[in-house]
């Protein structure tokens, strides 16, 4: 007979945590996002652009004080779950628990129900479920949850490019810039741009979404990526799109890039645009 040691987590605490994250992320920006946003207000050279940013700054204050969602598009819930392989979930199915937490958060938090049950039939599910959940199994006994409610104004401006290896880094830069220029005012600039390079068709998209949840005080571990992020941020801010797309010098607040190994014949690049309300919440259970 063998004895094994597992850590038991009950779905009740998962449901509660997810509910809290839904409400928190929709009313308060994370401190790193808030700091970068405040810096943007000082950097903007256009008069109208500064006016727009001041309005957005006041909006954040009102949202937090009066508990009104920062934006009416409280998004489709996207959850990144890192589940330690020494955990046992008790009380129900983990996916059901996460979806229940989303339901509770969107009902109790006065958040908008923006999900339809089928992309063609389009009948509202009335509770903002289901969420889109990305699972990763890791070592250890922690359950790490990142919830990001994704608004579709920006999501709709996101793109994937299956580049050729010969296109190289120049091709990647062109893909990022093209996506941002095509988005323009539609993605409620200033934007946060998440980029995934490598993997496969679906992997690079997932990398790009995950990149949006990075704490802005952290950097990519790869020097060439750090350089690329900095260069793309500068070039995007030279586009002239500005706050609200009404012209200005602050078009993006950050460019976050994640990479993954890929096939010898491929260079997949995904560009996931987010607006300035880059919402996410993090819990470790």
């Amino acid at each position: 007979m063998r004895r094994i040691l597992v850590r038991i987590i009950n779905t009740e605490i998962i449901i509660k945590a997810v509910e809290e994250m839904c409400i928190e992320s929709n009313h308060f920006l994370t401190p790193d996002m808030k700091e970068v946003f405040d810096q943007a207000v000082d950097k903007e050279e256009s008069l109208l652009g500064r006016q727009v940013l001041e309005q957005l700054k006041e909006n954040l204050i009102i949202a937090g004080e009066d508990m009104i969602p920062i934006c009416q598009d409280t998004g489709m819930a996207v959850v990144f779950v890192k589940i330690g392989q020494d955990i046992h979930i008790e009380g129900g199915c983990l996916t059901d628990a996460i979806n229940q937490g989303v339901r509770d958060g969107y009902m109790n938090g006065y958040l908008r129900k923006s999900v339809v049950q089928d992309p063609i039939e389009r009948i509202n599910t009335k509770d903002n479920s289901p969420a889109v959940i990305h699972y990763e199994i890791v070592e250890g006994d922690e359950l790490d949850l990142v919830l990001t409610p994704k608004g579709f104004g920006s999501e709709n401006m996101s793109r994937i490019f299956m580049l050729k290896p010969a296109d190289g880094i120049a091709g990647v830069k062109e893909a990022i810039l093209k996506t941002v220029l095509d988005a323009g005012p539609n993605a409620c600039p200033p934007m946060v741009v998440g980029v995934g390079i490598g993997g496969t068709f679906e992997k690079c998209a997932c990398l790009a979404k995950h990149a949006l949840t990075r704490n802005l005080n952290e950097q990519s571990p790869k020097p060439y990526v750090q350089k690329l992020e900095k260069e793309m941020l500068e070039r995007i801010n030279q586009s002239g799109i500005g706050p609200g797309g009404l012209g200005g010098t602050v078009t993006a607040l950050a460019v976050n890039i994640e990479t993954y190994p890929t096939h010898i014949a491929g260079l997949p690049v995904a560009v996931n645009i987010c607006c300035h309300v880059n919402r996410h919440a993090h819990r470790v259970l």
């Binding site: 500064r50 009416q72 598009d73 005012p185």
Partner: protein, 192 residues
């Protein structure tokens, strides 16, 4: 909600809504305007139904003539409040349905983001105006809405048609009735 933060440098004007079609000529792309009066919300699903209604030759759920549509679906209101978060949605998704509504008399639209050439042409031939509200300012904009009443398509929930009473609702004229487009001109001014 009268003064914009940091104001004193950008000229602004007040406008009652709905406004007479001949007033459209006084509005130029780039104008900062505070709207007071009545507007109607409608977005993707409501526009699809209105298009079907027009095809069937039936009357629209409200008198569209010279009225302004706000592309918006609010979050639920807490007790004692008129409306939840209420910022603009991307207008371009309604482009397919818009020329027909403009030809039927729609006076103006509030949203955010680019419009198609077909919409701009219909705006010019009908002397209509497209305003942008600041995308993402849902909480702030909700403070400018004093009442909200569902008048059609209640089953659509957030996408129902609502009649809103607004006071000093801040918008920018993005495309005027002559087709001048701030999104195009402004980017050129700041592109390096």
């Amino acid at each position: 909600m009268g003064n914009l933060p940091g104001n004193g440098e950008i000229m602004s004007r007040e406008l009652k809504v709905p406004f007479h079609r001949k007033k459209a000529k006084e509005l130029t792309a780039g104008d900062y305007v505070y709207l007071t009066g009545t507007i109607y919300t409608a977005r993707d699903a409501a526009h699809k139904r209105m298009q079907e209604t027009l095809i069937q030759g039936k009357p629209l759920p409200f008198d569209i003539n010279e009225n302004v549509i706000y592309y918006m679906g609010p979050s639920p209101a807490r007790e004692g409040r008129a409306i939840g978060s209420a910022g603009p949605t991307t207008a371009g998704r309604m482009d397919k349905y818009t020329p027909a509504l403009l030809d039927k008399g729609l006076g103006g639209m509030i949203g955010k983001g680019k419009r198609s050439l077909a919409v701009i042409d219909a705006m010019k031939r009908n002397q209509a105006v497209y305003f942008a509200a600041v995308g993402g300012a849902g909480a702030l904009l909700s403070k400018c809405i004093v009442s909200s009443e569902i008048i059609a398509y209640e089953d659509l929930g957030t996408e129902a048609i609502r009649k809103l009473e607004i006071v000093n609702f801040p918008v920018i004229v993005v495309i005027d009735c002559e087709g001048n487009n701030l999104y195009e001109t402004a980017i050129k001014e700041f592109a390096r």
